[in-house]
Each structure stands twice: as structure tokens, then as C-alpha cells.
Symmetry: D2
Subunit: 346 residues, 4 copies
């Protein structure tokens, strides 16, 4: 009964079956294979416009590669101050861009605001050549705080960015979770609001190792293939990532998985919120629950073997903040188990 | 009947089965899982000393990461002038090292010589601060020309490098093919001759996506885990690379695969050498055959659908040089097919 | 009557004379000359221990080069959130280090605290390989807010850094101004408190283009000469920087210059503080004055041709914050002129 | 009597006087001053078209910055195999470009050929994404071997480069020496043959520390100001580089200096060529003489205190190759002195 993360999960059966099926024979290497060709078309259908999509194996690679296409080494990238790209990628964005600066903006619920972008750009403009050049905006959907940007807020951010010539990147490690919350189409959730590049995540939601960098304007992807190669992220047997992504999108597998994960999170949050002395710290709109419990309760849950992280980034007094993450593979019984245990301890 | 490369092959069955088996349940992410732990021990057994081994998904990642541990941005790396790291990795070593210079040395059979290392270091020493600092040696085993360094030559190169304080990296994308040719132990083929770091390849020899960077002195691997992370090469579901490598080493699968590939190459070379007007251009010691045929024969083979690359880097007059690559998956019938066709065309 | 910055000044006469004197004859290039040799000894005398000192032409070069010696690309550098290295060097530290992250810490008076360093390191340690590795601390003396760290605070910061193995860099673009405020020896102001590397500035305080990176432990400067070369900061005619620095240190020129600049700032601050509606925003301990005036007064001063910057980084309500900078070349009459004008406008 | 290099010279008097004259008063920093503004216009006049010119202090900075504008990290730069950027800049071009590969082409007289560029591009095109992307051509005028490209050869190289979309950079550390040899206008020597960017050198020919990166199409210089800043090469007191360059161009000082240097080299070469057993190894078209002497003669000259470098890069049998460099400051008496000594030793 482990709620530490959605990356501890196994691979979803249809995806593993697709890997097996892709193994039939020899195939052209480095993405010249039929599955990869089909995947590019599939992404274009999915997003209702011609896109350029580049499969890679990890989310950090997807984000850092995407940003390296948008920002040069003397550029500034506006993002949330605790974005995954800031705190959890060991400097990959800085490295891939040749030294761009991630300019972290505060926002208690993980959702940056258009006004913050505009202010940052105004400051940089005044500073001139001494400051990094505003280069891009990156936002996370669903956010690191389990919240989801409403479409209007995405559109406002994109408008503020585009007004200054900055493209907008979306870290979609949990894109499916956000999408089912929003209840709109992939196109509406992205380029129709002004998103230019998407890190389309699948690993956390059932794949073995599959993400894709999706450019909604293929002409903005010039030389991206070389970026992927020179960072060691071009697979010789590429078909085995492409097969995963095709299976992921087949029969709405990705949406079904995400719906389950989100539902489990909501059940968890509701159950916990009903307990005395427990505060749910963020709106639960995806598959993460941030909640503050009395320290004694937290300690007892840990002792009983429940897996989750304490989350001191939530500055909470007189209680212990923790993070619980659900996934496509979280059984209802696990949620019930944790709730039962939380109720019984006191 | 495709001899273009050994990376067009499918995944060897036992390796695919191991991936499936690894999928049973949740597991700690980022290499905290049991399979990855076991793999590190397995590598230490294999090499008969405690090693630090870091699984990654691609050979370019393995090479570039390894070199980034050895050379800083103002360093020089001595290697063959047509090494994979020079011509086929789109500048990954330069990028990962922060700008180190690959100093390409000529050698007709792909095997650089100790004397060339010593000369290069002497030149750099004379140039002082204006020149890059000699930082490392990288050699490929088996080489890009299908030859294999004898153990004595490895020892000489390592001695020349170590005399100036330079560590030695071995690009072992086809390490298994070299090993079965040498007929010695993995330890004898590497650190016993002075190799410090090995890119241990498995993808070309049957894996889906599995390589490992092996440091024979674990203390030389400080911070390497962060290098892997910040280049996007740390998998959350790491167990699925580790499982491949464990299966690869199980029951000598890797050696059996390599033996087959090498045998097919030799059969091919012998059969072609017997034809009039055909010259085998390099000793066939691994799974690659470089051979010059009359242009008319080459054109006919292409027309009949045989897959291989013309190889203009071999400067041959009055004939057309081509490269044929065999693999663990090359059926004897394919070799016979090509030989029969080569005989019948004239 | 220009108070915009201390870098608009001409070159102090003795320094220009030294450049002229250095021009007598040919001299070995790249620092092999007698003046550069003498300078290294002079720095060792000045700091009362053997140091390694590397002259360069700009402060940004000094800072970025120094940090590149301390932090690798996956490192984190703790500093003030509005440090010059963060906001005014267009990403030079990120570039020179290969992507290290500057972790900006808030502190209203520009002086970071030991506790903040310790907290940052603790967070990074918990995050492990996903986060950048704590690598160095950088502080500015005098700070960007015109304040000066007391010796005890420097010692505390260094202790917190060293406890985790982090070296401490001091950006001393205005080191002389800080030193005369502290009234101690250069040794006491630096390594005796635990400073490991100093960007020793002279350009703002009278030189044409002269700074030096000073390592208090020469063994920590390995390969630094190559870093300077490969960033284009090794001069062929190095003697012309060295001559500046020798003249700067001769007969306490640097201290006399700094004393004058500081005195002018204090006079300015006192005169302004006496006016109604004026608030001095920071302790005036060096040669910068941050002060809030009624907007009408600011506008009138601007109209009368006084040069200074509005400083919106100071969040002040109902008044306009400005920055006034004095220098070795600020005549008393200029200070009186500004004060008279400030008094007369209303 | 030192012929080791043209960078051991002092500063030419008119240039030092200009520095002094620039010191009159305060001036806007970072290039906002009147001299820098005037210099940009002066360069445009000189080259008979509007150019964008960026003063910097060193030749390595000029070259590396220029190349970083032309090539990204996954790019290839075609140049001579012993170009200064390859052997004498400690990896600065690789560093500033983020890892671009310098592809060294052989040419015994230092002058690469259009055909070599075309061949290199063809190879890269065939290799596709695995190889670096052809990005730029860099040639040195005058070359490192004391020869000068004829205008027609420049035009051919530029045509081959432009045909594939590659811009052409000229390392003009000794541009003046080449220009007086060619006897044409600066425009004819550069953009009229297709040169896109010039490292305009002055330090070797009389300046203290003054070079400029000149873009013949100002629109190709976008963001270059930030590149200069973030590498620490934007001076606060910029006027002191600009003053040097203005004086350098005044009254043809630069051409007079270069003519003298070239004449001294020619006298030296002719005098040496007349001696038995002496071979001049390269055409003497600028201010460098490569000559092979009997080892006994070389040793005796060294013993008598003459300064020059042995030059083993010239592979000469049965004699010792040396390099002699003259400059604007080489007195005729020094040349006569060396010739007399060379004659008398035997």
C-alpha cells in the first residue's frame, strides 16, 4: 500500500503486449520503422492538427530537450518556483539549454499567473543585456501540487508570453490526469489555449518508458532530431517506445488509467478530510493529495507500513504535511486500507 | 536479408521474457529496486572485482556520460579518427563534457597505437595552456572496422595513457563480439590490461535498450549518478533495463549470441573472398565485414534487395567498398543467400 | 553630476601612468612577464599567505571563472537572490559552470545568513540525486545593497558551508569599499573568516580594466589557467592588467580611493536623511545609497540633469526608491550640488 | 632580438595616446559612450557598408564569440587542421558554441580549399542526424603558415559554403598583414568575396588589447551583445577598447604597421634563403617565416640569444624547422642582426 509516487507502478498489460508484438522481425533503426511513422500520424489525429512528435524514454529528457529548443544559454525561462524542472531534474534544463536560467515564480497552488510573466519580462527588458533574455514559459499540467490549470488561465499565460514573443512549454508528465479533470479534448487543453510544445507523459500513467515531445507547429522543431541524438536519447530500436505510445492511446487506455488514478485520489482526500485534525492543503484535481495530519497519526501510518512522503515544502504549523500519490494501478482496497488505518489511529 | 547493421534486430527472447517477469508488482523507482541491486553485484562477479555499474538505454549515452566523468571542457580525448564517438554521436561527447576536444588519430585498421597517444600528449605538453589538456583515451573494442585489439596492445595503450595520468575508456558497444574473439575473461579483456571505464553494450547483441557504464574503480564514479540524472538518463522504472542486463548475462546468452554473429561474419567473409575480383579489406574478427566488390556486383546485389551500406570511408580504387554486419539474429540461410547471389552475379 | 554607477569613472592617474610605464619594451606574453610575476608575489604579501592570483579584465569574468572552479554543471550555488551573479551577468555563471543552478536566498539587506545555507543543503540532501548537488556559496562584499557583512557573519556562513564541504566565494567588486568600512586587514576580511576564493575588483575603484581571481589555497586553483584561456580571458599582453593592479595597491591608492567614495556616500545619505519625506532604506556602509523620496522630488532631480537609477527592487509605498552611487572620482561639490538641489525642490 | 611572436610587442604610441585622451571625464558605461558609437560608424565607412561591430579584448574571445553566433552545439565547423581555433584556444570555440565540432582539414600551406568544404558537407549529409550538422566555415587570413588566401580562393570557399547555407568566418588576427599583401580594400578582402563575419585583430599589430567581431550583415548579429556579456567580454569602460581601434584605423596606422612587419619578414626570408642548407618552407606573404636550417645553426642562434620557436609541425627531414615572426615593432637592425648571425654560424 504504497502512495509514494506514480512511478513505482508496473507496466500496464496492453502496453507490455504491444512491446511483445513489436518484436516480430527486424525493423529499420532510429525511428525509420513503421510503428514510429504511425505514431507521428496518431499524434496528429489526436491533436487535430499536424504536429511533430519525438518519442523519448524519460520525462526529464522530454522537458530538458523541449526547453533547449526554446531557450538559448543566455535565456530566461519563467516557471513555478517548485516546478519539477527546477527542483527534480538535477539541472537538466540548464545543461541542455547551455545555461539558461529558470526564473522561479511563487504561487501557493502551483499555478503561475499571467501577470507574473508580464512582470518578469518587464524587469528583464529594463535590465537589458545584463540580464538573461526572456525566452520561454514553462508550466506543469497537472501541477506539482495536484492542481490543474483551467483553460482560461492557460490562455492568459500564453497571451502574456506570446505578447513578448515567448513560446509556452507544458510539462505534461501527468497530462492525462489533467485532461480527464478538464473534460476537454487534447487540442483544447493545449494549442487551442496557446501551448506551443508539450512534454506528453506516459510513464507515470502505465507505460514502461515512454514520453514524447510534441511541437504543435512542426516548423518550430527544426534540428530537434539532432538535439535528441546528441543527448543520447535517440534509440536504435525506437519502435519499442513508439509501440508503447500507440498502445497507450488505443481504446482510451490513457484516459481510463488517469480517470482511475484521479478517482482514487479524490476518495482518499474526501476520506481524510472527514477526520478530525486533518486538513487537505490543495484542491485535489489530479492524482496527488497534499494533506496535513497530526504528527502522531503520520508516525503511526508510517509504522504500519504505508508508503508516502512527508512534504515539508508545505509550510504547515502544528501538523505534518504529507503527499499521497495514486495511480492507474492503485487498487480501491489500498485506499480503503489507508483510510481505515487513518481512522483507527488517534 | 539485411546486413545493414546489428541494431535492426528484434529483442532476444530470454531478454523479453525477463522484462515481462520484472513487471509483477510495484517496485522502488530510480534504481532502488531489487533487480538493479542484483545487477550491480552481478557485474562485480563478472569482472572479478567490485565495480560501479550504471545502466542506461543507449550506447551514445553510455559513451558520452563515461567521457564526461573523465574529461572536463578544456580536455582532450585521444581516439581513432573514425570512432563512433567522433562521427556517429552528433557531438554528444563534446556536449556532455562541456566542450572537450576529440583528437582523432589515424589507424587504417581502426586500432590506435600507444605511440600515437604519447606523441599527442607530448605535443599538448609543449603547447601548454593554449592547447586542451590531455584528459583521456577512448578506444573501441571491437573497433568500427571489425577488428579486435589484442590484449597486449590494450596494455600498451593503457600504459602510455596512465604514464601521463590519463584514464582509458573502452567503447564496448560490441564488447561481447570482441570477447569471444579474444577467448579470455571479461576481467582480462578490460581492467587487467588497464581499462578504467567500459561502455558495456547489449542492445546490438540482443537487448531492447540496455547498456551500462562500468567503472572498475568505484571511487572514480563519484557524482556519476547525478550526471546520469541531469542528462535525462535515469529511468524511474529502472528495473526494466536491469532485467535485460541480468538476462543478457544469464547462461552465457551474451557470449552465445556474439559467437553466432562472429561466425556468420567469418562465413560471409570467406565465401566472398573466394570470388574473383573481391577483396576483404580488414581482418574479420568480430561481426563486421568490409569488402570491396566490382561495382556491377554491388549494384546487382542491391537490386536483388540485399541490405548493406556502401562504405566510401574505405578508399578503394576500381572497386566498391561495402560493409556487411551480422548479428545474433542472422540466420545461416541469409548468409548463404547472399553468397549465392554474389556468386551468380557477374 | 552623475551618481548612476561607479563604473562610469575615468582611470585613476597613477594607474594610467603605470600602463604607460609598462610599455617600455617587448615582454613575454600570456603572463610570463616580470610585472605579472611581481603581482602574484604582491598579492601574497597583501593577504599574508601564499595565494594564486589570476588577473582578468572584467568582474563578470572574475566571478564566473571563480564559480566554474568551484561548481560543476550539476551543482547548486547558494547566494543572495539579487546578487550581481544572479541578475546582472546574463547567465555567465551558469554558462561557465556548464549549467550550475544559482539558488537565490532572500535577505532584505543583501546579507545572506548561515542558517539559510544550512537549510538549503538539508533540503538538497533529502532530495538526493534529483536535485543539484550543493557545491558552493557566493556572497558579495560590499553587498549589492550597500551594506557590509560583519566579520562574524562571514565566519558563520563559511562554517555552515565548510561543514558540508562547500567552498565560499566572495564577489569583491567593491572589496576595497568593504575593507575600509571594516577597518581590518585584507587577510582578516577574507580567508581568516573562511573565504576560499575572492573576486578582487579594481575597475570600479579606479582601474581601467583590472580584477583578479584570488585563491587563498593555491592547490585549489588547479587548471584554472586553462579555464581563463578557454574563455578568452588570457591576455597576450597581460602586463597591462598586472601593471594596473600593482599601481592600485601601491601607496594604499585603493584604500584612499575607497575611503573617499564611502565618505561621499555617507555625506549624501546624511544630507538626504535630514530632508522631510525622505527615508534612507539601507545602512550606508560602502559607496551606495538607497533612498526613498517623494516622486515629485525624484522627477525634479532628473529634470535638473542629475544622474541616478530608480530602483523598483526596493518595494516602497508612497515614495520613489532610487540608488545613488559614489566613487573615488566623485567630487564633494557634486554631492553638495545634489543635496542643494534636493533641498530646493519640494 | 626576439622573433617568437608578434604579441610580445609594446603598444604603438598613437594607440596609447588615444587611451590617455579617452580618460578625460566620466562616460556612459558598457559601450554607451561616444567613442564606441563613433567606432561603429568608422567600421561601416571602412568596409563600405553598414556593419555591426563588437569590440573585445582578445582574439580568442573574438573567434569563439563569432563562432558561437554561427554554430550550435550539434554543429560542425570546417577549418584548417592547425588553425588557431583548433590548436591554440584551449577549446574556446567548443565551449562557446556548446560543443560544436571543429572539423580540421589538411592543407600544407594553411589554405583550405572549396572542394574540401563540399566533400565534408556531402559526407555529413549522408550521415544525417548521427553526424554534426554542417554549420560554418572558418578560415584564417593571413594563415597560421604565413600565407595569404588570394581573393579568388576566398570567393570559391564562400560559394561552396553558401551553397549549403553555411556562413563563413574569417579569423583576421593578422588581417592587416593580409590586406597589405593583397593590396585591395577591406571590403574586397572580405564581404565582397562572401565573408560573413570577421575577427578583426589589432593587438598583434600595435594595440594593447583590441579586437572586434564584425558582422557584414547586422541582422545576423541578433543577441550577440548578450553573448559578449555572458562570457564576461563586455567592458564597463568600453571606451578604452574603442579608443584603441579608432587610433589604429586613423591615418592608416594599421596598414603602415603591417607593411613594415611584412617587409621585415620578406627581408628575413630572402636573407636566409641565400644561405647554404636553408630552405624557406612556405611562401612569405605576411609577417611569418617558416624556414628549415641545419640543426647546428639553429642551436647556435639560440645560444646567441635569438628568440624564435622550433616548429615540429613542419615535418622536415635532416634539418630543423623554425618559425620567425616579425611585427610593426621589429627594427631593421634586428633582422640584420639575425641574418648576420645566421651567416656567421656554420
Amino acid at each position: 500500500m504504497n502512495f509514494t509516487s506514480d512511478n513505482i507502478t508496473p507496466v500496464c498489460e496492453p502496453i507490455l503486449a504491444a512491446i511483445q508484438a513489436a518484436n516480430a522481425d527486424t525493423a529499420p533503426s532510429y525511428g525509420g520503422d513503421a510503428l514510429t511513422q504511425r505514431l507521428e500520424r496518431r499524434f496528429s489525429e489526436l491533436f487535430e492538427r499536424e504536429v511533430a512528435a519525438f518519442p523519448v524514454a524519460t520525462g526529464t529528457a522530454a522537458n530538458a530537450l523541449a526547453l533547449s529548443q526554446l531557450a538559448q544559454g543566455f535565456g530566461g525561462i519563467y516557471c513555478h518556483e517548485t516546478a519539477h524542472i527546477v527542483t527534480d531534474e538535477c539541472g537538466a534544463p540548464e545543461f541542455f539549454t547551455g545555461g539558461a536560467k529558470l526564473i522561479g515564480l511563487p504561487a501557493p497552488d502551483g499555478r503561475i499567473q499571467a501577470r507574473q510573466i508580464a512582470d518578469g519580462i518587464a524587469f528583464a527588458t529594463e535590465m537589458g543585456v545584463h540580464h538573461v533574455k526572456p525566452a520561454a514559459v514553462s508550466l506543469t499540467q497537472a501541477t506539482e501540487w495536484g492542481t490543474v490549470y483551467p483553460l482560461a488561465q492557460l490562455a492568459e499565460i500564453a497571451a502574456a508570453a506570446h505578447a513578448a514573443g515567448l513560446p509556452v512549454h507544458m510539462d505534461g508528465a501527468r497530462f492525462a490526469n489533467a485532461l480527464v479533470h478538464l473534460g476537454c479534448s487534447p487540442a483544447e487543453a493545449t494549442w487551442k489555449q496557446g501551448i506551443d510544445v508539450l512534454s506528453f507523459g506516459a510513464t507515470k500513467n502505465g507505460a514502461l518508458c515512454a514520453e514524447a515531445v510534441v511541437f504543435f507547429d512542426p516548423s518550430a522543431a527544426a534540428d530537434f532530431a539532432r538535439r535528441r541524438k546528441r543527448t543520447g536519447h535517440l534509440w536504435s530500436k525506437m519502435r519499442f517506445i513508439s509501440a508503447q505510445l500507440l498502445a497507450y492511446l488505443e481504446d482510451d487506455l490513457w484516459l481510463r488509467n488517469a480517470r482511475h488514478a484521479n478517482a482514487m485520489a479524490l476518495t482518499l482526500a474526501k476520506g481524510l478530510a472527514a477526520l478530525p485534525g486533518v486538513r487537505v492543503l490543495q484542491p485535489v484535481e489530479a492524482n496527488e493529495v497534499f494533506v496535513a495530519l497530526p504528527e502522531s497519526r503520520v508516525a503511526k501510518l508510517e509504522k504500519q507500513g504505508f508508503g508516502f512522503y512527508r512534504w515539508p515544502l508545505c509550510a504547515v504549523r502544528d501538523a505534518t504535511p504529507i503527499r499521497l500519490v495514486t495511480s492507474w494501478a492503485t487498487p480501491e482496497s489500498a485506499v480503503e486500507g489507508l483510510l481505515a488505518a487513518a481512522r483507527s489511529v488517534d
